[in-house]
């Protein structure tokens, strides 16, 4: 392919890259979609759900064709302590019907589907090939323009635009001089296991109707004192269980994520949910949680950065923001081609991101991050307090009512000052995000 020249090369066939490739191919651009994995999705991990409204922007009524697991009708947040849990939950059966709300999914299938969609629209998909570095024109370092990529095989492939969708682990953003800013307190590290369980058992254990799905978010016990989370997602014939925390806290507290997983699976309230389930896959991945402060420069002459590579994560949202930024970049590339300007015109991509709903959330997320940096024990204290209060409240005892209320307040106050508890609840509300 050494003599090939494309309108655009997209590096990475995850949700961001494939969405960009699809958008451009639909606009009659010639596109090369490069993927280092054996197939799209071979390297990709996420928690577990695809959100409908943003995904419909990429593919209307995608649920009719995409490989999905279950529409989520039931969401619960558990404040999990050693032998108890305070549960906050919602079940909405409206979410079981079109237009749905979100679906559990497995990435190896979903990503392959989306990349195939870009291919059907006209993009060339090349897998098992690693892009080593960008190729530049002869311009000065400050305003040099990318004119293609060099693959590991030594092939030079040329294009007017390169879209970097290499995920959090790649190094093209850095070598392109776009100031990748990653520190261990802006990364979370999660491990996940996919466990096979018959569908009728899933529906029985999670109190679901046929084909309905549930998501459990688990705070407190799972991350063993670090700021992190556990979660369970129900797939068709399997469940995904995950746990993780901020990398700097895992390091400071001497925690191994795999041991956290083992510990979570042995928790008496979790054990009964996964009893008899057979592990079929172990996975691990980092998430760029740094928010606005971690965002690299989003474009340079001939280059745009999308998805995780650009740290597009808000709370639990990531795959959908990847698809949206991919589409933004694809649209910008289309306009750039029409204007025959592949340098300054790419600023339109940054404008689209800046005026998006999620950028506001990314900016707000910085405060939450700072809070947890100062108070890494917030979730732990809150979970303890909630469970102690619940035990006190639900215990049928022999004291008058007003005494019971005083006992409850005493329990909470013994852990930390009351205003701090209230602040923790307020911050937790933002940090845990919309489950």
């Amino acid at each position: 392919m050494s003599d090939d020249k494309y309108d655009a090369i997209v590096v990475g066939a995850g949700p961001a890259g494939s969405s960009a490739a699809l958008t451009m191919a639909e606009n009659n651009m010639s596109v090369l979609l490069l993927e280092r994995g054996e197939y799209p999705g071979a390297k990709n991990v996420f928690g577990g759900t695809i959100y409908c409204q943003p995904t419909e922007i990429i593919c209307p009524a995608f649920w009719e064709e995409a490989p999905l697991e279950r529409p989520v009708t039931s969401e619960e947040l558990w404040l999990l302590d050693n032998d108890s849990a305070v549960k906050i939950g919602f079940t909405g059966l409206r979410f079981a019907k079109p237009p749905y709300n979100k679906f559990t999914a497995l990435r190896s299938k979903f990503d392959r589907w989306l990349a195939e969609k870009a291919k059907k629209a006209g993009a060339d998909l090349v897998t098992g090939t690693l892009a080593k570095e960008l190729i530049y024109d002869g311009g000065r370092a400050r305003n040099r323009k990318a004119i293609g990529v060099l693959t590991e095989n030594g092939d030079r492939i040329y294009s007017d635009i390169v879209i970097i969708a290499e995920g959090v682990t790649g190094n093209l953003v850095e070598t392109a001089g776009l100031q990748k800013k990653i520190s261990p307190d802006s990364l979370t590290l999660y491990v996940k296991e996919v466990m096979e369980l018959p569908s009728n058992k899933i529906e029985e254990r999670f109190n679901l109707g046929k084909d309905e799905g549930a998501v459990l978010g688990l705070v407190g016990y799972p991350s063993s004192g670090a700021i992190g989370k556990g979660a369970i997602f129900t797939n068709k014939d399997s469940i995904s269980i995950m746990v993780g925390a901020y990398l700097n806290q895992l390091i400071e507290k001497g925690l191994n994520p795999f041991l956290l997983m083992d510990r979570l699976k042995k928790h008496p309230l979790i054990k009964r949910l996964i009893e008899g389930a057979k592990i079929v896959e172990f996975q691990a991945h980092t998430i760029p949680k740094g928010g606005f402060g971690q965002m690299p420069k989003l474009f340079s002459p001939g280059v745009m950065v999308v998805g995780d590579a650009a740290a597009m994560i808000v709370g639990r949202r990531g795959a959908d923001l990847a698809m949206l930024t991919g589409k933004f970049a694809g649209e910008t590339a289309t306009q750039a081609k029409a204007a025959n300007n592949f340098s300054e015109s790419l600023a339109a991509y940054e404008k689209k991101v800046n005026s998006s709903f999620f950028l506001q959330d990314m900016k707000a997320g910085r405060k939450t991050k700072d809070y947890y940096r100062q108070h890494p024990d917030a979730d732990f204290l809150l979970t303890k307090a909630a469970n102690q209060v619940a035990y006190e409240y639900f215990t049928v005892d022999m004291v008058p009512h007003h005494q019971k209320i005083e006992n409850i307040i005493g329990k909470v106050a013994s852990l930390q000052p009351l205003p701090k508890t209230i602040e923790d609840i307020y911050q937790g509300f933002f940090h845990w995000g919309v489950f």
Binding site: L106, R107, L187, L189, I251, F258, I279, Q283, T286
Partner: protein, 98 residues
């Protein structure tokens, strides 16, 4: 990996990895680990136990074939002493569920 021994389900029993012939991970300065790094966190935060401390050789050993490319190690190392790159195209972890 000693502390994993009490656990029945080992992570690498449940993930498909196609290791390439050469390591995609290297320690930039081997003596730094023994001289300056007290806790050697890479030996415990790596989810699949790629790194272990070799007491005889007095250095960190890297079993790159265990790597699932989670991306944590280069950023977790307090001295930025880990050089981690993508394995060659088609090699490394191959998730079938994801």
């Amino acid at each position: 990996m000693d502390n994993f021994s009490k656990i029945a389900d080992m992570p690498l029993d449940f993930v498909k990895i196609k290791p390439e012939g050469v390591s995609h991970i290297s320690i930039k300065n081997l003596s730094l680990c023994s001289k300056q790094c007290e806790n050697k966190p890479c030996t415990y935060y790596c989810p699949t136990g790629v790194y272990y401390w070799d007491d005889d050789a007095m250095k960190i050993q890297v079993i790159y074939a265990r790597c699932v490319e989670c991306g944590a190690c280069p950023y977790g190392c307090p001295y930025g002493n880990i050089d981690w790159r993508f394995p060659a195209g088609g090699y490394g972890v191959i998730y079938e569920y994801g």
